[in-house]
Subunit: 355 residues, 3 copies
């Protein structure tokens, strides 16, 4: 790809370099080879710019550059421009229309003629598979499932009855969508009576769901994963939750039922969210923290239970010395008691002297 | 369903309302529509009773009611009665006897004539599938597995050799039952030598297991999940554990090997239990807590490591101000040192004066 | 097996007992029956030696023995010798060469004639399945996957494109190897733009991976699990991580991307490791702890965030009384203020008196 074309398609402008320079692919500063484009985003890595063998580099508007042999592409956000370059050099594979003879497709299902259905996939009654969808081998779609155009469903995935999947969604291997929510009433003999879970899961467009993640159907109504949400591996989403647009859920996060996660919220690894909560837009919960209360928009929360991240940082710093702190308090008590005794004695002495 | 029939089948009595009133289904207070039955359990929602469009309501024995247009069903536990109503209106689907031609069933396996075996399911040698069992597509049963009557095994589940599943058990998608326990001995060269895992998993009647959960076989003997236990998604149960009757394990709970979890124990989300422990009956561990010690019956435990929940609540309240607390201690030390100096000076002064 | 043969094959020497004694199998001290060999490793169980019905016992070099009716095998490490005995009595099953007719094998794949491929397994283009490999039912291998000799892949596993699996590897059910790493760049409209994940996963010889575990491919290059690593169930390994030889990762551990875990490191259950870290050789992180910083070799770390285990033990002991500690500090403040007031009054008094 010509440098000029690359610049144009990644939202950058050429500051230095021949517009006809051939760029073959993209790589990090230290990995890049001749002919590749690289990027500098974090100023910490500025020294590596001198060493890189790349042919071109994305730089922020104001980043200095001291090499004349390196084509310079100025971008608002070099990392974003670089990602766009990576995507140009590694486009999504074209979907080959195909239905493997071992796939089992219910006669009532509608499969677009340009969809791809792998070996051993099972498509239930009344399913709808839209254009250019890829269903990998050994996937199971229960009845009444819809998969939107250009979505990719990896092997071992289960989409339970009535699950709705939008367009350009990627669901990685062994994800479960629409299993029963965890709801029971306690009977007179203290055994648990199952509450029917009759709702469904709706996954909107441009969502990605990591391997092994489980998303329960609603008891009534919907569990909804909104447009652009990205979910990592082994995440648990309880029944009737709503994850709002562009939220990011890292690996092993767990949500109990009926919680609402706001737009662009980031839940770092192994975070836990209790049930029936409202986590406001743009909230961040740091790794391994948890909340059992609503969180107002924009807050950064840490700890179990979670509170303001800055306070938490002070608390955990103090926690490291908590054994010592306890000892200090015991000593203070002792010294104080000694002082009090002395002071008391003097008072008595003086009182006596004054009598 | 007639109101009288509903009352009778859900253990309630009609206080107000026509016994012949038609009830079509069940829904929550705010969602309920004409013809539906609803319930009030938590007094906090009493104001919503005035607004509900439901035709009938389950109320506790002593709950007041100010509407004459609403049929009133008195019940010991309105939530339980409502759950029973939901179950009446959403009965389990009838199992259609069926074996998909793509299912692979070993000739030595015994499959009840009224069982349902989905596409791509694989049933190993000497397996026994009892009456009205549903095996969904792409399930794998290794050899010598037994599945009891009316149980449902969802797609992608693996039941490893010799696993025993009771009656009316529900196993959600991609659960693994009977994988090898995690046991190794350290060899002379510090590499790990695998300890053979030769036991099995026994799952008793009326157990439900959430999607993606893994239950390891015992190294010797059994891992046993007893009658009525409910397990949520992505739970890990190590080798040789016993989970006693009616225990509830929420999502992402993890148990190391050889622990015993008592009857009716509740392990909230992301709880961890170390190996070789005994957790007594009716214990509750709150979310994200952990224990590496035995827990006596009836205790509520929180924290890592866990201790009494009430003490923990006080500790975490204090923890939020731990940074400030550390500062206060430093100030106290300073002030105390100052006082000690002053007191010392006076003593010296007085001592001098008295000489 | 003759006692002499057992001793020889498990690295032990006969101290007491007939070399021709028949040993039929191996079991723990309390479970062992006539004809079996048992072991004593932890001196705590010494009293059980008197009661055991075993025919022979592995003992450490210096462990006392008071029974004449028990054959005694002296071993450097009785647990290791016992494990070796268990392995002799429970050898790996011999692999029967077999390809199930329902398996779907791409014509470009190379499958060793003595491999075993179960029903419904799908082997992609250009895969290589080496000698004596067992692929259980419903496994999916994407294209260009290699599985080394004598490895076992359990049902439901997904090996994504270009995954490399070494020899004698065991991968338990529903493991996912090579799913996309979790990498996104934030676009101008605050939506997330997927970064292509073009790397692969390499699993070296003698690795074991527990059920439901997920291992992401590298964004560029490799995610590598080195020789002898043992991974438990439901573990998450992010893109571009390296797990060095003989490390042990217990259940539900989570690793963000690009971290290096040293040789023989032990990560206990539910541990979390942030991204781009270096955890030194022989480090131990105790259960539920986490680190967001590098850890030097040999350290034992606990807490969130983790610090030295000994300090942590003191801190958590103090934490249990933190509510009380906060109360003590308030009292100290009060008493100190009182003392300061008194001292001040006296100073004033004395000052006054001295005037």
């Amino acid at each position: 790809m010509k440098l000029s074309e690359l610049a144009q398609q990644t939202g950058a402008t050429i500051e230095i370099g021949d517009a006809n320079l051939d760029i073959t692919s993209a790589a990090g500063l230290t990995e890049a080879k001749a002919g590749q484009v690289t990027f500098l985003s974090n100023p910490r890595y500025t020294p590596q710019v001198k060493e890189t063998r790349a042919a071109a580099i994305y730089l922020a508007k104001d980043a200095p550059i001291e090499r004349a042999d390196l084509a310079v592409l100025r971008a608002q956000d070099p990392y974003l421009a670089y990602t766009r370059a990576l995507r140009l050099f590694h486009p999504e594979p074209v979907v080959t229309p195909f239905i493997h003879p071992s796939a089992v497709i219910d006669p009532t299902a509608q499969v677009a003629p340009d969809a791809h259905i792998g070996a051993g996939a099972v498509i239930g009654a009344h399913c709808v598979i839209e254009s250019q969808v890829t269903i990998h081998p050994n996937v199971t779609l229960y009845n009444h499932v819809r998969v939107g155009a250009q979505s990719v469903i990896h092997s071992g995935v289960a989409l339970r009855a009535h699950a709705q999947v939008g367009q350009r969604v990627i669901i990685h291997n062994n994800v479960v969508v629409g299993s029963d929510g965890f709801g029971f009433a306690k009977a007179e003999d203290k055994s648990w009576l199952k509450i029917p879970q009759t709702g469904r899961v709706v996954i909107e467009d441009d969502v990605e769901i990591g391997a092994g993640t489980t998303i329960d159907c609603a008891s009534v109504g919907e569990t909804r994963i909104k447009r652009g949400v990205k979910i990592d591996n082994l995440v648990q989403i309880g029944h009737s939750c709503t994850i709002d647009e562009d939220a990011l859920l890292c690996a092993q996060v767990g949500l109990a039922g009926s919680s609402h996660i706001g737009k662009r919220v980031i839940l770092a690894g192994q975070v836990g969210i209790a049930g029936h909560l409202h986590v406001g837009d743009d909230v961040v919960l740091t790794a391994k923290s948890a909340t059992s209360h609503d969180v107002p928009p924009g807050k950064v929360i840490s700890g179990i239970p979670g509170f303001d991240n800055k306070d938490w940082l002070r608390s955990v710093a103090a926690f490291r010395r908590l054994g010592e702190m306890a000892r200090t308090i015991r000593l203070l008590e002792k010294r104080l008691a000694e002082l009090e005794r002395t002071s008391n004695d003097k008072n008595k002495l003086r009182g006596h002297g004054e009598e």
